[in-house]
C-alpha cells in the first residue's frame, strides 16, 4: 500500500494551499469531484499512462517558477480575426481587457458568478463528463481541477454563433498556478468556434467539458503560448450526439512541460470527431498527447492526427486509443502519430492502441519517426532554395496533415504563420 500512500501524501500536499468553495450547485459538484480525487490520489510515474511523462512538476505543491517570455514585436496569434475576446491573466478574469461577451445565440457566464446559485444548466455537465472519462483510465489532475477550479466559463450555445469566442490566457507572473474549468453546451443544430491562446500561467491546469447535441458543430483551435518555461496539464472531455461534429486542433510551440489529454465519446449515430495537434519543440521541451476516443454508437467517424517536430533533445509523447464498443458497427476510425526528429538527441515515444468489439469496422493506425528526407531536401535546394528555407518548408509540409484539420482557412493561415516564425526563431 506504500504506493497509494505516496499518492495520497502528494495529494494532501498539492491541495493544502487551494481553497474549496462549497456553495451552490457547484459546491455539490466539487464535493463529488473531491471524493473521486481522494479515491485516486495523484498520478505517479508507475501509472501506465504516466510512464513517458513525469508528473512531478504538475503535482508539486507549488508551481515551479517560469521566467516570462519576450515575444518581441510578434503579434499574438488570432490577432486579426473578428472575435469575442475573453481574457484571463494568470488565471484571473480580466474584465477590462475582455470584450462585451454578448453574442447572438450564445450565453456566457463566469463559473464564480453562476456557481453559487441553487441550480443551473451546467449542473448536468460540470464534472460529469470528467467523471465518465475516469474509466477505464484515471485522470486525477482533471478531478483535482473539478474540485478546485478558481474560475472558468459556462458557455451555452443555442444557435449559430456569428463569430468565434476567443479565450486569451495571458501570463504576467513567474509563479502563477492557474486552475480553470470551462463547460460548453451546444444545443441541437448550434455551432461555435472556440479559440484559445496564451501561456495562461507558470503552471496551468485546465479542464474543458463539451457537450455537442444532435446536429451541432463545434470547432476548437488553440495555440498554447510561446513560453519556453511554462507548464500545462489540459483536458478536453467531449460527448457527441447524433450527426454532430467536433473538431479540435492544438498548436504547441515551446513549453517545458505539456500534457494534453482529450477524451471523446461518440454517443450518437454518425457523429464525427477529429482531434489533431502540431507540436514543435527545441531543447528543454516535453510534450504529451494522450487521447482516448470511444465509439459507442454506429457509423461514427474519428480521426486523430498528431505531428511533432523535435530538436536539441526535445521529447514528444503520444498515447492514443480508439475503443470500439460492440454497438459501434460501421465505425470509421483513423489514427496517425508521427515525429520528425531533427537530430539524434530528440525522442518520440508512442503508444497507439486499438480495442475493437464490433465486427464491421474500419480502423487504421500508424506511427512513425524519421529525419528530414534528404532527397526532398536536395530537390528543393536544386531549385534554388537555400538549405534552411528548404528545411522549413519540409517541416511545414510534415505538419500539413494536422493543420489541414482546421476548417477555417484564415485560422489555418494564422497557425501556419505562427509556425513559420517559430522556425525562423529556432533556425540554428
Amino acid at each position: 500500500m506504500a504506493l497509494a500512500e505516496a499518492k495520497l501524501d502528494a495529494l494532501s500536499g498539492r491541495i493544502a494551499g487551494l481553497s474549496f468553495a462549497a456553495k451552490g450547485w457547484l459546491g455539490v459538484a466539487r464535493r463529488t469531484a473531491l471524493d473521486r480525487l481522494g479515491a485516486m490520489g495523484l498520478p505517479g510515474r508507475r501509472d501506465e499512462y504516466w510512464r513517458y511523462t513525469d508528473p512531478a512538476t504538475l503535482i508539486a505543491p507549488e508551481a515551479p517558477p517560469a521566467v516570462l517570455f519576450d515575444a518581441g514585436d510578434e503579434p499574438p496569434v488570432f490577432d486579426t480575426l473578428d472575435r469575442v475576446k475573453i481574457v484571463f491573466v494568470d488565471g484571473e478574469f480580466d474584465a477590462r481587457a475582455s470584450d462585451d461577451p454578448r453574442l447572438a445565440g450564445v450565453e456566457i457566464e463566469r463559473l464564480t458568478e453562476a456557481g453559487g446559485r441553487d441550480s443551473h444548466w451546467a449542473q448536468g455537465l460540470y464534472g460529469m463528463l470528467e467523471a465518465r472519462g475516469q474509466t477505464p483510465v484515471q485522470r486525477p489532475l482533471a478531478a483535482l481541477n473539478s474540485a478546485f477550479a478558481t474560475d472558468g466559463l459556462l458557455i451555452r450555445v443555442t444557435g449559430r454563433a456569428k463569430k468565434p469566442i476567443s479565450l486569451i490566457y495571458r501570463r504576467l507572473s513567474e509563479t502563477s498556478d492557474a486552475i480553470l474549468h470551462h463547460c460548453i453546451k451546444l444545443d441541437p443544430g448550434a455551432e461555435l468556434t472556440l479559440l484559445e491562446n496564451g501561456p495562461a500561467a507558470a503552471r496551468f491546469t485546465k479542464v474543458m467539458e463539451v457537450e455537442v447535441a444532435e446536429g451541432a458543430r463545434f470547432h476548437h483551435i488553440r495555440s498554447q503560448g510561446r513560453d519556453h518555461q511554462r507548464r500545462a496539464a489540459t483536458h478536453i472531455f467531449a460527448r457527441l450526439g447524433t450527426r454532430s461534429l467536433f473538431k479540435s486542433f492544438t498548436l504547441t510551440a515551446n513549453g517545458r512541460m505539456t500534457r494534453n489529454e482529450c477524451v471523446i465519446e461518440l454517443a450518437g449515430e454518425a457523429g464525427v470527431a477529429h482531434v489533431a495537434g502540431a507540436a514543435v519543440g527545441d531543447g528543454d521541451f516535453h510534450h504529451d498527447d494522450t487521447v482516448f476516443v470511444t465509439h459507442a454508437a454506429p457509423a461514427c467517424e474519428s480521426r486523430q492526427v498528431f505531428k511533432k517536430v523535435l530538436k536539441n533533445g526535445a521529447t514528444g509523447v503520444f498515447q492514443g486509443k480508439i475503443l470500439v464498443t460492440s454497438a459501434a458497427q460501421k465505425t470509421d476510425g483513423y489514427q496517425i502519430s508521427q515525429s520528425l526528429l531533427l537530430d539524434d538527441d530528440s525522442q518520440f515515444l508512442a503508444k497507439p492502441e486499438l480495442e475493437i468489439y464490433a465486427d464491421d469496422v474500419k480502423c487504421s493506425h500508424g506511427s512513425t519517426s524519421g529525419a528530414i528526407d534528404e532527397t526532398s531536401l536536395f530537390y528543393l535546394q536544386s531549385r534554388g532554395l537555400p538549405k534552411r528555407m528548404a528545411q522549413s518548408l519540409l517541416v511545414l509540409a510534415f505538419l500539413a496533415e494536422a493543420i489541414g484539420e482546421i476548417e477555417d482557412e484564415g485560422i489555418a493561415d494564422d497557425i501556419r504563420s505562427r509556425l513559420e516564425s517559430w522556425l525562423h526563431r529556432h533556425d540554428h
Partner: protein
C-alpha cells in the same frame, strides 16, 4: 558552357567507384545526349553536377561558365544557371506547387541580386508557361507532385525549368514513364526553350526521345566513362544494334 574534365566519383558510404574519368564539353546552344546501359553512371553524373550528397569527387572538375560547380551548394549551382529535371520528381505534401515555384524563382533572383517578382508578375508568367504545357490551374494549386501522374510530374519539371530559365539544363531520363502523347508534350516544352544561350544534356536509355529533342552530339557512357561520341546517327546505331556490339567494339 559546361566543361567536365577527368571526373572521378565514388560513393561516400562504400568504396564503390562510379565515374572513372568523364570528359565532356557542352557549348551554349547545343543539345548533347548521353546514352548508356543501366549502371553506367549516367544518373550519378547528373546528381554530382547538381550537388546531391552521398558522393565523393576524388578527381577532376566540372565548370559552368568557368565557375567550379563541385565546390558549390546545390542552391548556388541553381542560381548560377544549372537545372536538373529529376527522373523521379519528389512529392512534397503540404506545399502548394505555386508557392514552391514562386519561392524557387525568387530565391534564385535574390541570390543573383536581381529584383524579386511580385505576386502579380509571377502569376502572369506562370499562367502563360503552364498553358503551353497543358498544366491547369488545379495542378498549380495542388501540393508539389502529390497525386500527379507520371506524365504530370515530368511536365511539372519542365514548367519549373521554364520558370527558372536556367542556362544549362540536365534532363535525367525525362522520358521514363511517359506515353507517346506525354513525351511529345514534354519534348515540345523542352524545344521551346532551345536557344543560342542555353544548352541541354539529355540523359536517356532510348533513342525515341531523341526523335523529338534532336541532339547535336550523342555520347555513349559505359562503366563510368564516355566511350564514344558522335552525331545523332550514333543513337540510331544503339537503337538497332543495342549496346553490346558498341561496347565490344570499344574494348
Amino acid at each position: 558552357m559546361l566543361e567536365i574534365n577527368n571526373l572521378h566519383v565514388k560513393l561516400e558510404e562504400e568504396d564503390k567507384v562510379i565515374l572513372r574519368g568523364v570528359d565532356l564539353s557542352v557549348k551554349a546552344g547545343e543539345v548533347h545526349a548521353i546514352m548508356g546501359p543501366n549502371g553506367s553512371g549516367k544518373s550519378t553524373l547528373s546528381y554530382v553536377l547538381a550537388g546531391r550528397g552521398g558522393y565523393e569527387v576524388t578527381e577532376g572538375s566540372a565548370r559552368l561558365d568557368g565557375q567550379e560547380l563541385l565546390e558549390m551548394e546545390p542552391e548556388a549551382r541553381a542560381a548560377a544557371g544549372l537545372f536538373l529535371a529529376f527522373q523521379y520528381p519528389v512529392e512534397i505534401p503540404g506545399v502548394g506547387n505555386m508557392t514552391f515555384l514562386r519561392t524557387a524563382v525568387n530565391a534564385q533572383k535574390k541570390a543573383r541580386g536581381e529584383a524579386e517578382l511580385s505576386a502579380g508578375e509571377f502569376l502572369k508568367l506562370v499562367r502563360e508557361k503552364a498553358r503551353a504545357l497543358k498544366i491547369d490551374a488545379e495542378m498549380l494549386k495542388r501540393p508539389v507532385n502529390v497525386g500527379f501522374s507520371g506524365g504530370e510530374k515530368k511536365r511539372n519539371e519542365i514548367l519549373q525549368m521554364a520558370m527558372l530559365e536556367p542556362r544549362m539544363c540536365i534532363l535525367d531520363e525525362t522520358d521514363s514513364g511517359l506515353d507517346v502523347d506525354a513525351m511529345k508534350l514534354v519534348s515540345d516544352g523542352v524545344n521551346a526553350l532551345r536557344d543560342a544561350g542555353r544548352a541541354f544534356l539529355v540523359i536517356t536509355h532510348y533513342q525515341r526521345l531523341l526523335d523529338h529533342i534532336k541532339p547535336d552530339v550523342v555520347h555513349i557512357m559505359a562503366a563510368g566513362r564516355i566511350v564514344r561520341s558522335g552525331g545523332p546517327e550514333l543513337a540510331l546505331e544503339v537503337e538497332h544494334n543495342g549496346y553490346a556490339d558498341l561496347l565490344a567494339e570499344v574494348k
